[in-house]
Point group: C2
Chain length 373, copies 2
């Protein structure tokens, strides 16, 4: 039997050898230099465009060198650990690197490269009990579309059917999607590891798409999270939360519900979280809060922080994160220092890095240990 | 409050407008002609390469035309409905179309275009109860890696906690991954719709990655599904099935367990299903069985079908699918006719189409109505 079916499968194997040849993920060698190969025999110029901050991949851009066989190769300067967006330019056409992993960012599927970190392994899959990430579909009356959110349920969720869990609503950044926090952020592995170490309570994470366009609005007008065309606040408060509380074993009181986000999602978390003190006990903004200079405790956020005692009665925690290499870092840190000094329940995460996923992974790692403590 | 945070968010909005401009999915116009735009001011030649059968996109390849502003545009001949893999060639570099959706196929993230079907809507999301698709992580002793399988749980799985469900193990094709059946195949929407119509019993679907390389084997040698380096059969029978039965509310007897796959996955389904009559009551192969001429009932598959009564005592159903435009179609249909005439419990699905996802969606739609009847 085995032999007969083995012979039958040879044609598939041949097909696969073709596929195998196509698999040329960029490699990361010594000193964290990344190497790329592109087959472009007739091209005149091939470049690597670093879409992260200028130094994430060791330079803003690079020129590939052409070999005699028509392939173009590049080895970069040493890169900074983490996950970085990039693109290739072939004779002026800005494209994705054909053989890298792709992630949804910049409003499209985009190439990224993961540079391993010698210091940090908290986001890597380990041999610990794993939670699940569920694609949960629902029809939204707000947008009149079938929407998908991702829901992380912690290890053991399907075993102890009496346990109820706190819920974190966690938002992606501009141009990204509900996939970002798992595909790029590795939130499920971060929480699996923290829970296994006893450093975080198990909780549910809900990741929806931050774009909730008004029905009938054209695509060009949908990408306005602060404007009236984005109904995300309505969607979260009137549809998403009741649907999640009805579908999962949640602790549905205010102190067991938090909202957080990165960049644009940080702005959304603050808007929704601070507009709805009856719903959220904790608010967190990663690279998304306090970017302006001259933070004024009296007037900022409409005077929200003026009365610290009142704020602290309502909110358990306002968590703030920002990478040290971001231009807004001094302002954000200044805001945090002022809030802290004023007695606001706040916490700060400021790892080395810029507006990038490695920083937001650390923010999440730090935040998860505090949020439902 | 709203105003203050609105102002704060303006910088994100500006960033978003940039992203919005990047969103240029190919459009499908009248007569199902697809239109593409690529910005490549310095390129000499831009082509569309159809990676499906020659006529899926109306021609094997097309040349883009250059406009005076440096963009290249193309409108194709009428295309066949369904989801088709394609690539772009820019001065000889074979790349993905930067602004299309990307799917894992051909051993990498690859561009695809969905051409709507006027006749078929069974795979589209509708306002019916939805099941979930769960990313389920587990550590495999066979491969010594943390692996991910996707698990479809039908609508109501989390409500009636006493109900147990049959399980279908469903495999992707060569160069694809565990993502294929949901991202390309829309298996969850197909089953949601069938269950809502009462045409299919609710059942669980497990989709694992068909590549299970022996630990330590280099990537170049991993892609051999029929050879000794692929431990997928061991993984399914010794690890995956016990893990799934321990993790979900399954009906774990032989007649409530089926295995199916497309192309390479069809070969795997037959090998594993027919090698393990104690585990599987139903086997299905979509575009993966009986491709050779001169099918001989006595000797084929080591004489498995010779004694129809014995076969039928063991297996409830051997389901065979093949698109009418595939070169192997006459052989596959001939095999099916012979099996049917011989009294084997078999069924056939032969929609118009080639080696493509639209065909496999129909196969799954037909098979789901029979498998656990």
């Amino acid at each position: 039997m085995k032999k007969a079916i083995f012979l039958f499968c040879i044609c598939f194997t041949m097909l696969l050898n073709v596929h195998a040849q196509l698999m040329k993920e960029p490699t990361v060698g010594s000193e964290k230099r990344a190497s790329f190969v592109l087959n472009a025999p007739d091209a005149k110029e091939v470049k690597l465009l670093n879409l992260s901050d200028d130094m994430a991949l060791g330079a803003k851009e690079y020129n590939f060198e052409k070999s005699s066989d028509g392939t173009w190769t590049l080895t970069t300067n040493p890169c900074r650990p983490g996950l970085h967006y990039f693109a290739i330019s072939v004779d002026g056409a800005k494209i994705d690197y054909p053989n890298s992993s792709h992630y949804f960012g910049w409003g499209k599927w985009t190439s990224m490269i993961e540079i391993p970190d010698d210091q940090l392994d908290f986001y890597l899959p380990k041999d610990v009990p794993h939670g699940e990430v569920r694609q949960h579909y629902y029809y939204s009356k707000t947008t009149r579309t079938t929407r998908k959110c991702l829901v992380y349920t912690p290890p053991g969720y399907d075993k102890d059917l009496k346990q109820k869990y706190p819920v974190l609503y966690l938002q992606h950044g501009a141009g990204e999607s509900e996939l970002g926090w798992t595909m790029q952020g590795k939130v499920n592995f971060i929480l699996d590891n923290l829970i296994a170490e006893g450093k975080s309570k198990p909780f549910i994470v809900v990741m929806d798409n931050g774009y909730a366009p008004r029905p009938g609005i054209e695509a060009e007008h949908q990408f306005n999270p602060g404007g009236s065309d984005n109904l995300f606040e309505d969607l979260v408060t009137k549809e998403l939360i009741p649907m999640i509380d009805a579908s999962y074993r949640t602790l549905s009181d205010q102190k067991n519900r938090a909202i957080a986000g990165l960049s644009m999602g940080g702005g959304q978390a603050m808007r929704i979280g601070f507009n709805h003190p009856e719903l959220f006990g904790t608010v967190a903004s990663f690279s998304g809060a306090g970017g302006r200079a001259n933070f004024d405790l009296e007037t900022a956020y409409n005077g929200l922080f003026k009365d610290a005692a009142k704020f602290n009665q309502t909110y358990k925690l306002f968590f703030v994160g920002c990478g040290t290499l971001e231009s807004m870092y001094p302002n954000v840190k200044g805001m945090y220092d002022t809030l802290k000094e004023h007695g606001i329940h706040t916490a700060f995460s400021g790892p080395i890095g810029s507006h990038e996923w490695q920083v937001w992974r650390v923010h999440l790692y730090d935040f998860a240990q505090l949020v439902f403590k």
